[in-house]
Each structure stands twice: as C-alpha cells, then as structure tokens.
Amino acid sequence: MFRFLLKRLLLTLPTFFALMFVTFIMIRLVPGDPIEVRRGERGISPERLEELRREMGLDQPVWKQFGDYVWGILHGDFGTSIISKTPILHEFATLFPATLELTISAMIFAVVLGIPAGVIAASRRGGVYDQSLMGLALTGYSMPIFWWGLILILVMSNTLGLTPVSGRVDLIKFYYEPVTGFMLIDSLLSGQKGAFWDAVHHLILPTIVLGTVPLAVIARMTRSSMLEVLEEDYVRTARAKGLSTYRIIGVHALRNALIPVVTVIGLQTGGLLAGAVLTETIFSWPGVGKWLVESIGRRDYPALQGGILLISAMVIFVNLIVDLLYGLINPRIRHAK
C-alpha cells in the first residue's frame, strides 16, 4: 500500500510542475505588460518604470524569472493581488472554505439522492419508475446550471419567499468572527440564535444548483452499475437461497455496484470545486470561483495565476485521495503494474 501511495504521489509532481510552467507562461501571454496594467491611465516616468521592473524581477532573464516563481511557490509565495495588495495565498485561504462548504454540501445532496434513485431505477428496470427517474436524470445532466439557479431564485426566493437570494448568512442580523471558515460550524459556535438556520437557508439553493449535475451522473452510474451486478452469479445464488429482494439489492448487489460509483463521486468532487464558478456567481457566494471570474474583470492577473494554480492543485489533491481510496477498496488496482 505504501509503495502504491508513494508512486501515485510521485506521479502528481510532474503534473504540478507543468502546471506552474503553464501559469507562468500565461501571465506572459496576457496582452499588456504587467506594469502597464498596473500603471493604468495616468502613466509613469521612465525612471519609475525601470524601478518597478527591477522590483518585479522583470529585468531578469526568463529562465531565472521562472526559477524565482517556482522558488516563491515552494515557499508559499503565490504572488500579490494587484487590486487588494494582499498575498494570493491569504486571499485564497479566506475564500476557499466557502467553496469547500458548498462543494461538500452539494456532494452530500447528490449522493444521498443519486444512489437510491439509481438503485430504484435498476431494480424496476424498464418500469415507470425507471423511465421517469432516468428521464429526470438526463434532464438534470443537460441542465444549464446558471439558468437552473436563476429559475430557482425566481420561484423559491422572489415568488415564494422561502430562501434568501445571495450570500452565506444575513450579515445585517448576524455577525461573528470566522473561526473555521465553514459558515454552518461558525454560526453554531457563535451561539447566536437563528444564525445556524439562517446559514442553512442560504446554503439550500446553491447546494441544489451545484449538486444537480453530479446527482444525475451518480444516479445514471449507480443504475448501470447495479444492472451489471444484478446479472452476476452470486446474485442468482442469493436469489436461489431465497433471500428477500430487499436484502439482495441492498446488501449483495449494492456493495459491489458502488465501486465504480465511488470513482465517479471522486471525479465529480474535483470538478465541483471548480464548477462552483457559475453557482457562486449566481448566488454571490463569496468563494474562489466567483473571485476568479472577478479577477478577470479587474485584470488582476497575479490573482488569476495564483488562483488557478491553487484550485488545480486542490483538484489534483482530491483526485489523488480518490485514487488512494480506490486502491484501498479494490486491491486489484493497487497491485496492478
């Protein structure tokens, strides 16, 4: 197991290095010199320009600049935002818990509904339940989620007044210092009455919107995986033994059918971390996705560069964990060449 872990870990290193290279190149490809972007409309004297160039290391040869960039990243220096003048890593660290909270919540939503839906569809193959559930799943899979979010806001918030439109908590009614960065936990810790429920209310719509596509994917995957497993000999044996359908499906088949589903869950989680871009934009959710989009609008290229590197690193990390878990569940993977 240890060798497998080490091997997987080593395999991610070149990817991460290449990622640093890509983001480094990117900032050089962006139209306009970083200094020009910074100096704005007014313009600056040639002396000051020279000084700035030296300050930012732009007078050095490119390979040395790349070396410095990598050196900085290895020491936790991902650059400084042009607009807020704070270190990117710090900004990312403040925003990331919001994205993570939303991602986890969406994933729980998708798994809790998706697996039962897939199981029901598979056990009633070809029936009304199967067809309607799979129809719904395909619709969810085809849903433009930014529109889905708008529709939900229109119906749930604007018309029925059930949920708030944006943000993570009502900042006028409740204020407390972030401790963990997870609003659900912080609101509980604050001890303020109603803060927790307010945070939950804020989380509902974004969770549904972000969770819809993974829900559909998980339901479809569970169904096809179940169908495959239900044809196996051991299921027939279990039937022959006279076990109840409930037990055959719930215990014998589901356990084996879940292996590919776990992979899909992992892959989807990685995608969600980043896919939150649209959801966060719609719900003004103060996470890294919204921040990235805004960085483009503000031409804050260092933030974009650092942010993309950090998000990709997170996704690589999640995928790594999924691989390890998978190796843990399924020894055949672990021992493959």
Partner: protein, 299 residues
C-alpha cells in the same frame, strides 16, 4: 480509400448501417431526440427566412413585451421582446445558429485533432506517446471551466475564442479514446495480417485501423457536442463568450437578472432553448451508444 470500406459494409448480410438504424430505432427517446435535433438544425439553417425580425434590431417603442398568451402582448412579437426591444423569437432562432455553430465547430476540430494525436500516439509510441499523453493529462488536471476561463483571459472573449477554449478543454477525451481503441485494434490479427502483407504505416493507420475505432468516437462526439454547447453557454453567461449583440443563448441570460421578477420570460426562453437542445442531443447520444456499443446495449 473508400473502396474496401464500402465493400465491407455491403458484404455483411443486413449491412451495418441498417443494423445500426434498427438498434437505434428501438430506443424511443433516441428517436425523439434525433427528431428534435433535426428540427433545431433546420431552424438554425433557415433562421434568416423563419425569423420574423432582425435579431439585433431594437424596437424602442416595444421593450419588454410579454409573450402572446399574456396580457399586453403584441402579436408581431410572438414570444415578446427583451429589455431593449429586440424580438425574442428571432433572437432564439438566430441563437440556435450560434450555439450549433459553436458546438459543431468544436466537435469537428476535436474529432480531427483527436484522431490525429490519438493515432500518432498509438502508432509511434515511445517519446511521442509519452509527450502527447502527458500534455493531455495536464489539460485534464485543470478543471474545464477554469481552464476555459484562463484561455479566454489570454486570448480575449469572442465567438472564435470560445470555440478555441472549449475545444482545448475537451480535446483530451477524444485523444485518449482514439489512442485506447487504436491500441486495442493494433493487437488484433487483421492488423498483423495487414502489416505482414506490407501495408504501409499511413494506410494502416487511416484505412485499416481508423474505421474500427469510429464507433466509440461517434458516441463521444455526440456527448461532446452537448458538452460544448453547455460550456459555451456558460462562458457566454459569464460575459466571456460571444459578445453582445450576438444572439447567443448563454449571453442572452447574462443581464436578465434585474428583469427576472418583473419580466420572467426574458430569462425563461433562452434557458429552455439551451435545455431542449442539450437534452435532445444527449437523448440521441444515449441511443447512439446503445446502438453502436453492443456491450452497453440495454436488453
């Protein structure tokens, strides 16, 4: 090049095409999907004939008109007008053109590049293979929408660049698919026989192996088409895709938020258009997969 493939298709008793159609026809959803896709394609092609108005003409006196079944509507604008008085129906029709154009362009370029890179990786192996696969892995490591945003940030937001960004993001799936199926085919007897009889590499790649890799590729292309349309619409929604006044469905949704409560139809129609199109393509894609890939065929 086509001579021996056509002979092959006619030699098999029912003919693969007819067998495929029979299998495809079994799936009712897929047939409905195909019909809707054909309809949307026709609308897109004949948008200039069918559309009652110019999609970017602003009728200043007729802003925010509701669709025909609501009070205060004007039958000259069947589905109403948007915030600046442009005809919704016409914009939707021309929007089909834009979305399908993006989707098909992405699909075509991805197919060609996927086949070229995938076959090269499979046939040449060694360093070439390692480099291609590593680059594709890297592209896959970055989340798709984030990568698309990054690319757009570099090359700027417009229709062509949307196509470029969405193509790059989706390309690894095509390359890996072609490479994997080509590698499987390469171990089969008929390829070895062709090699022994002295078929040259180029011919081996294009005539002997490629046709046998097409089935999964066609399925991927169908699913890739719907993904591309969704992703392009997402970029449009973020203001990073087609720029106004282009009637792109995603971009049409971008600034409808303020109108949402008072004039919900302005927001509803473009979304429905995206949903129906993508859903129809996915239904068709599922049918294609079931018909082309017997292993996954439902009984």
């Amino acid at each position: 090049m086509p001579s021996d493939t056509t002979i092959a298709t006619q030699a098999a008793p029912p003919g693969p095409l007819r067998a495929f159609w029979r299998a495809f026809r079994e799936n009712r959803g897929a047939v409905v999907g195909l019909a809707v896709v054909v309809l949307i394609v026709l609308i897109a092609i004949f948008a200039s004939v069918l559309a009652p108005h110019d999609p970017i003409e602003q009728y200043r006196g007729f802003t925010k008109l509701p669709p025909f079944w609501m009070e205060g509507s004007d039958l000259r604008f069947i589905l109403g007008t948007d915030a600046v008085g442009r005809d919704m129906l016409s914009r939707l029709m021309y929007g089909a053109r834009v979305s399908l154009f993006i989707g098909i362009a992405v699909m075509a370029v991805s197919m060609v590049m996927g086949i070229a890179l995938g076959l090269t990786a499979a046939f040449f192996g060694g360093m070439v293979d390692v480099v291609i696969i590593r680059v594709m892995d890297l592209v896959m490591a970055i989340p798709s929408l984030v990568l698309a945003i990054l690319i757009i940030a570099i090359i700027g937001p417009n229709l062509t660049n949307t196509i470029i960004a969405v193509t790059i993001v989706g390309l690894p799936r095509y390359v890996r698919l072609v490479r994997a199926s080509a590698l499987t085919e390469l171990t089969k007897d008929y390829v070895i026989a062709a090699k022994v009889s002295g078929v040259r590499k180029w011919r081996l790649m294009t005539v002997t192996v490629l046709p046998n890799c097409l089935a999964p590729l066609i399925v991927q292309a169908a699913l890739g088409l719907s993904d591309a349309i969704l992703e392009a619409a997402g970029l449009g929604f973020l203001g990073l895709g087609a720029q106004p006044p282009t009637p792109e469905w995603g971009a049409m949704l971008a600034d409808t938020r303020d109108l949402m409560s008072s004039h919900p139809w302005v927001m509803a129609f473009p979304g429905i258009a995206i949903l129906i199109t993508v859903l129809a393509i996915n239904l068709m894609g599922d049918g294609l997969r079931d018909a082309l890939d017997p292993r996954l065929r439902r009984s």
